[in-house]
Symmetry: D2
Subunit: 452 residues, 4 copies
């Protein structure tokens, strides 16, 4: 018997492979599928089916890539959308997996056609449920994809899905969601990597309600909608047209890089300190682990992308970008930033200051503009900085006019990483007197400077 969760870091995406005897099924695979193939092969199992819990919007699903390798059948939730491949799932469809059985149940809310899959053990009793984005450890899926006008409707649907279909499965049944803590698909997801109906029923804050209406009130919220979601939705409907590119990334000498950069977007994946100290002019900064969450806001799909990192081999960043459909990464700076400077090419820097210095500066210089790029939820939870102008990083490109051009800008986030992304965006747009606060609010909190 095989049960394995495959976690995609950064996306905090969970996919699953389950198998028994010679059969295996994959649920919500990511786009780089070799791991599923290897696991199945090691266990002597054939991947016969790929089940999707919903049409995904935050990553490119690997269903078709698996089918190409194994001939597996693909089953779509949200099956009334215009898929160019696979089959729609219907309520109560079921599939044998060796002595196990999977059964589909309709659990709308996150999307209209979301499905969950109950896994029955060899005795025919429910053992686990793969619930996609309906329910997470400590949170529920967002329900705002159909607009503000449909929030209540979707909330009621989600209520029914959770309270009438999932929770009645029994407290002992294990819950296998599609995301863990850190995902953009649920801001309050708990770190419990394994959870159960019983645990969620008792402890999930969103489920501690009296009735449908209270639930609706609690979960009805319009969240940010990253621009790349649209691209993902489109790609996931027509995967045969958007197959994963197997092309290797080119290692470019500084000279070649410079030439190629003329028509390309440069993404630097180093952390805030090294980027701040020296980077190629006109470069976007997103540290490696921030790519899954932020690249989709700022990176184009229709221009070549070139990568810069420390060691000259940003393979992981490349994988992260492919998972969200960026097949347009063409190359990287061979030898990393060091080689650029050893070639005597132009570079720029962005000032980084520690929180203690910032305290002094704020005391002394009234012209400073404090910019807090954290989202509202985080600000509410972790604390506000007195006098800071609040604009979430993701909203920065569309609201540049809010940032003064003639004052020193001190940028805050939780740690300094997102601040540097913000700084790089401002710098690309002409700002120059930029200062990234190291340690961010976290560091700030430990000083004697005021946090509200």
């Amino acid at each position: 018997m095989l049960f394995e969760r495959i976690k995609s870091e950064g996306l905090a995406h969970y996919s699953y492979i389950i198998g028994d005897q010679n059969d295996a099924v994959v649920i919500d695979p990511r786009r780089d599928i070799q791991k599923y193939i290897d696991l199945a092969s090691q266990h002597g199992m054939n991947i016969k089916k790929v089940l999707e819990t919903h049409r995904n919007e935050d990553y490119v699903i690997g269903s078709y890539e698996i089918k190409k390798r194994t001939g597996a059948e693909i089953y779509h939730a949200d099956g009334d959308l215009d898929y160019t491949y696979g089959k729609p799932v219907e309520e109560n469809d079921s599939w044998d997996v060796g002595r196990l059985k999977l059964e589909a149940i309709h659990t709308p809310g996150h999307t209209l056609g979301s499905m969950s899959y109950i896994l029955y053990d060899p005795d025919g009793e429910p053992w686990m449920v793969f619930i996609g984005d309906a329910l997470f450890a400590g949170d529920v899926g967002r329900i705002d994809f159909y607009g503000e006008e449909n929030l209540e409707k979707m909330a009621y649907k989600l209520y029914d899905s959770i309270f009438k279909k999932i929770l009645p499965l029994g407290d002992g049944v294990m819950i296998c969601p599609a995301h863990g803590s850190g995902s953009v698909c649920g801001t309050e997801i708990a770190e419990r990597e394994l959870t159960t109906v019983g645990i969620e029923k008792e402890r999930n804050p969103k489920l501690q309600i009296e009735n449908k209406e209270e639930f609706a009130e609690k979960v009805s919220e319009m969240l940010e909608y990253p621009p790349y979601f649209e691209k993902m939705e489109e790609m996931n409907l027509d995967l045969p047209e958007h197959q994963l590119s197997k092309k290797t990334m080119e290692f470019l000498s500084p000279e070649e890089f410079k030439k190629r950069a003329e028509d390309a977007v440069i993404l630097d994946t180093r952390k805030e300190l090294a980027f701040g100290a020296s980077h190629i002019p006109d470069t976007l900064s997103i540290w490696e682990d921030g790519i899954p969450n932020f690249a989709g806001w700022f990176l184009p799909y229709d221009k070549p992308i070139l990568l810069v990192d420390e060691a000259g081999n940003p393979a992981r960043a490349h994988t992260y970008l492919k998972r969200i459909g960026y097949d347009n990464v063409e190359g990287c700076l061979a030898g990393g930033m060091l080689s650029w400077n050893m070639q005597g090419e132009e570079s720029e820097s962005i000032d980084t200051v520690n929180v203690h210095e910032v305290c002094n500066i704020l005391d002394e210089d009234e012209s400073t503009f404090l910019l807090d790029v954290r989202p509202q939820e985080e600000i509410e939870k972790k604390g506000e900085i007195e006098g800071a102008y609040e604009l979430h990083l993701t909203q920065l490109p569309d609201n540049l006019e809010e940032i003064p051009e003639d004052r020193p800008i001190y940028i805050f986030c939780g740690s300094g990483l997102r601040s540097m992304t913000a700084a790089s965006i401002l710098k690309k747009n002409g700002w120059d007197d930029l200062h990234v606060v190291l340690g961010g609010l976290s560091g700030w909190s430990s000083t004697t400077c005021p946090v509200k």
Copy 2:
């Protein structure tokens, strides 16, 4: 946060590492501990504690090996035994692991001093329980270590542990036992690798009872006690004296092997077919995956062991043997059995017959002696073979007088693997007219030959 189960194949032993922030704890480690070290290091965690659920009898525990590498503190359940190292655990002892907490509760039954460890999530709520051999998926731990006279007493203790301490934790709490399906520590363990209080409460056959007495009746059973258990118990009390040998296994040419074999025991780890076709005289046959369950019955701890396999590199068998304390493996046959035959050394064979031939033989030859080496539980569950003499493989060496010396012996098990072990034992003891039935009862059942 880190939660990982480390499975030791064959033993069907589960150990666990859990961690948060920079702290990690290992529960019931096996003797080859590199995996725990690596996992902790990859996650930037220090193994601060090793917790044992009971004094183990079926494998050598790795607590002391971990301590040597990390300085971790060792906590013993069954703490009133004469340990030469570590500290005893007391009821309600608790340890922080980052934002998590572990708490010890006394859950006797399998042993008098068995402890379980409740894992509390960052909110202070029970999330999982590490229960050692108290409870398995679909079964409970054996309670016969203190003799028949104490069965009822131990059953009552186990009842209290399970019904008064474990089940009340809540249906949603996950159960993490020390063994999975295939272990000698529970014959009916289900294949569910992950389970919960709710699932066991409802479906574990041993828990479907009205009262303490019914429970005691259901679980009071004297099981086989492999001779190596005593060795394990002794070693586990004094690990500093029994540290894992890091000595490599020597690859021996046929000539050297022959010389060294004079004072050694030879164990051939190939499957039944190859062993039957040709093997070194006076060799014990246990196929690789059978080692954890059967080596402890037949192999000595005080004589050198030499291994034979197909490819000349029985590294996995070597690991399996070390896990149960055999530090006396000195070498293996370089080049495998092929090299032996290419050297023109003496070899022997044991006849293997397929079930169809056996049918005919049984019809024709009344002198045949049918030997079924499966244990009673299996015979009851899977079916009896008419006319077969039943003697569990493990009991064979002590009951050789029951086997006729002048009749052709046809040996049955479930598949043919254990039969070959039995045949090799008989052969070493002078029997010669031996025939292993391929496919065993499983193959037999598909024929028209009678199974009761």
Copy 3:
């Protein structure tokens, strides 16, 4: 700087990747190319070129697979053949690889258009030469592909290539051939994995000659030509039509296997002992490591192939078969031979006898027919068996009439492995009284039985 030899076991094929700065070149790649991709990527290098030393006949070359991943340019030796892709190499073509340089020189003999590639170090001095099948450690390439009538002509060409082009490069230059010991492309290849012009000049037996004529005499020999060579030659001319299949192998239960076997050829990859003891009727036996050398003689390209092994996962055999163009492997027996017998399916056996028994039998039974399936070269080198009928394994299918149908057949080879392949072929063709001699001539030599 990167220099790595990639060895394909079994084929004893050597390919090479060399690189400097960001450039890499691959010479004579095998078909499963991930290793080259990984090596280049780890070193921050782009594979810009694939160079072939000759149109290969013993394996499918991976040039086009690399081009698909990296966009590398392909350069063909034997460039006047009808390739559907790539470019022909001309004498003195040269390519920079970072600070290194490669230069093509025409070294015909093995084929008419064979090229060698001299690697110059950063100082412009010859450092290594990639010579394909012109010269091996201790041997030279075969020259019989153009028929007996052209042997002398080709020998003279090879003489000129070696004596006028390779040896003059200087004694210190390293020689990098396309094959090592064990290849079908040179029967006397020494085990020296690294060699130099100086070493070969002095010690290669084929080069210890007075003049061209003596050389021609020494090397002019018609060798066996495996039927699959033709397939390889055809595939290598049109790789775009014969791209490597990425389809996974199906794991088939005994029932499914049986059904699928009706239209398929079964290949059992276990060693002689297990196969002899029990195998599926009508199965070809080639032990795993024998596949590269023998599958091409006996396996069809136009029927599905099903594999059987010990553990139920013959991944390595599958790779070996793909390397010689067998994209028609459809599945394997899940659970290995054990599962077949546990299903009670029909099986057969072939007797295996050790050399000592054979001695006795030969003495006693005059009707026995001794079959030696080793090739003439080996018989000459290792010794003859008195009274044995000699017929090389590869010639057996076309010469079945030479084998008596009414006598017990005792089959010999060097070890017992090839004998079992022969026995399986005879069995498929109706012979039944078959006996494989374990240890083969090697074992035999150590007994008192007569070897001439």
Copy 4:
């Protein structure tokens, strides 16, 4: 047959394992020996001997670690030193390795007792020679260990070793030295990773001489002697007393780190940019790959060492340090530098400037002090910077008085990496107006600023 070179990056140290049949020998092993053990085991070989080419001064040899695992015998060159273990080698000692043979020849020069080992192939002909530090690709070993007064004597010895013993082995013989390009043991080592007698005879600049005297003149040079050499020499004589510590490195939270740092030396292994932007006060900077060459100059053996890196897991740096005997690494900063700043702890920065800015500054500010920390050889080869004060990085701690305290210091090296090490040393000693030039001389050369 097994031949594999094991390269230790950074040290540019080459060790070798050779084997045949079941025997293997390791030559000059490094201290972390698992790789040798694994290679031998994969090939079914027993490491029977460890041969040393000389008493090493630049790393801790792994001979005794191998002996502990395999029981191998250790043979020392420089065997008249006071070793506490192993046996001395004598001229013409020889050992069989399967069908191969190794023979010791005395090749003094680098040390008085240096030995080389000739490897003979199965035909008894010389195939390779393991020459330790006598000869490298493109260079010879240093001969200054016995003082200036013995330079000539040692040069003559080395001349005899090379010209009378090594070169006569024949041009085709392969040369296997103990170091490659990048080692401190030879400054001009070529990048050729594989070389031969013929190639060195013709192209090694040190061997292009008329006679002994000319050779002596060419090679007689007193080189720097890092203080850790003495420690290595001492440890290598008494390895049983200095066994590799298996203790894991502790991951320390910023608070714990701070506490532990009070009695410790902090080493930051990040590259120049990140270190410059923010680091813990009073920290030594050596980028990871610089550790093997520079740690031995600046790090103590008798105080705890704490590591800082980017990701919070400096495992590779830890390995590098252990290879040169630093068993005193106690912990690292969990979460890397980011966690330090998120804790709001004190940090400092060192200015990094690109070469273009430096040009301007030099033009404008006459008070700047230009410090070039490259060694003389490099300055001679790559070019001088006009007006720069030259002091090799390694000499800085002992010559601090040469650095002005009241002027802005601009530090140059080849790339910026060593400059940051220098800056960190100056900072620890009270300097503050420090500026590291990014790209170093390499970047500088591409500008219009003057290089002599």
